[in-house]
Subunit: 298 residues, 2 copies
């Protein structure tokens, strides 16, 4: 099983200059600026790219796009990126691993190598649940592909934000004995027989040295060996080890450099104000800084 | 004479929340964002607002305006500002004077009061001439209206970047004995009889305790008591006393605050990269910071 996974990984290894994680205004701006500097890039992001832009009724403070709805602005931004020949890859990044001069990004069952990384994942996706942080690495995981082997023939809970994680659930179901499945969406697919769907949400994680119980909003207490939280936005600190945060944002300098050389951040994830123009400007600066960083490390 | 000037000044005194100096991408973005926060603003800038944008052949890295010429982008930006009901006032600012909680901006022969100031004057207008910095306040001046009285019945040299300074030249001609006039443009107006036009440029300022000689590129050496340099872009340090610079740019923090409370800067004047998206983003941040500053000082 794991051999199959790593062979698949090796087959789909991809190398780029700059990997951009997130395709909201900051990520899209970073992408067209990396492209303008003639660098190979990978642009990764969720389905709508920027759900908050998609929902915004009217935005009138982004210079040049006068009186646009959020959705019209989103479409205009995506058109610009498409016209530049840039594709958006719709996957989640499970982790970023520095390997000497390059970074390995784990994306489902494959890896991508990048010389520099720009993080533009937006505002953190909600607060963590009680106990979540305490049991990270002690029962709580964000990546089925990465951590399945630790739960062979065990019982786990899995929460999931959408159908795009069902592949990962199926893989987990092959490895573990039983899954309590907590989907944040309407399941229409037929899942493996050892997957029990429960229509509730996680309220709390408890245990002693390791996670033991997942308490649900409906009052159920699930006795488990582990819990997988499959969602778009990982806690920032989980994305890359040692990334310095400041007040729940990634700490950046005026060049959008983080404390890790070669890793840049831009947009809402890099601090307030959470506004389109600021995000677009920072995306540009991050892109030019990443290109300069690569030039300096040839 | 000076009474007449100050009476005119008093008659045209204007009060605003935020004065924005410069109408390139950073200044225009600041303006629409100050307006969005429902603050009274004064937007001041030169004729083309952004000569470098006007000249740019093609700009493809400002997200949403795909494949625009610089001039088309400039027009699109100005349209957005006009549609927001914002006017651009075409004058030069001779100086900014902190007066307790407010700032007085000297604009030709009048003053404007502002609670906060955003400086977006772009890249500094060329380097200073040899001796210029040495003789500032000792013969070299940037404002006829401010300093004319020091040169009553004396001989001065005046360099000028355009017809818009001819009013100031006429006023100086009423006060001083003689003007050597060095226009950086074709003069078509009839200037007063004591104004001698010389078609050359200043090469160097020399003197001992004070300025004594203006050396020209054509080899002439003008014996003078003073020299007025009438141009759009003052040396940054001359705009407001005590403004902290870093590497020829205004030093700003992540909120676009300068070292002077209530004074903000954005765009090229606040550092590299000199790019449209970065300028627009910083203009937005400066505007929101200025609005917050005013709220905190009510």
């Amino acid at each position: 099983m794991l051999n199959k996974m790593s062979m698949k990984g090796a087959a789909s290894m991809k190398q780029v200059d700059v990997a951009i994680i997130g395709c909201g205004p900051a990520g899209l701006s970073a992408a067209i600026n990396v492209k303008a500097r003639n660098r190979a890039l990978l642009l990764i992001g969720p389905k709508l790219c920027s759900p908050s832009l998609h929902k915004a009724h009217k935005i009138n403070n982004y210079l040049g796009l006068d009186n646009y709805s959020g959705e019209a602005m989103r479409q205009q931004f995506l058109k610009h990126v498409r016209d530049d020949g840039i594709e958006i890859t719709q996957v989640s990044v499970a982790g970023i691993y520095p390997m000497g001069d390059i970074f390995q990004l784990q994306i489902r069952d494959s890896f991508v190598e990048a010389k520099a990384v720009i993080i533009t994942t937006g505002v953190s996706g909600g607060k963590q649940l009680p106990g979540e942080d305490e049991f990270i690495g002690k029962g709580v995981s964000y990546c089925g592909t990465c951590d399945a082997m630790f739960y062979q023939d065990k019982i786990i809970a899995v929460s999931s934000d959408g159908t795009e994680y069902e592949d990962e659930v199926e893989f987990l179901a092959e490895v573990v004995e039983k899954i309590y499945y907590l989907p944040n969406y309407e399941v229409t697919a037929t899942l493996p027989a050892n997957v029990e769907i429960i229509k509730s949400k996680i309220q709390k994680f408890t245990g002693s040295a390791r996670l033991e119980v997942v308490e649900l909003e409906n009052g159920q207490e699930l006795q488990v060996d582990g819990a997988f939280l499959l969602k778009e936005q990982l806690p920032l600190a989980q994305l890359i080890t040692g990334l310095e945060l400041a007040d729940k944002h990634i700490k950046v300098d005026e060049n959008m450099s983080t404390n890790i050389a070669g890793v840049f951040a831009a947009g809402d994830v890099a601090g307030r104000p959470h506004q389109v123009a600021k995000a677009v400007g920072q995306g540009q600066v991050a892109a030019l800084s990443a290109a300069s960083y690569i030039d300096a490390h040839k």
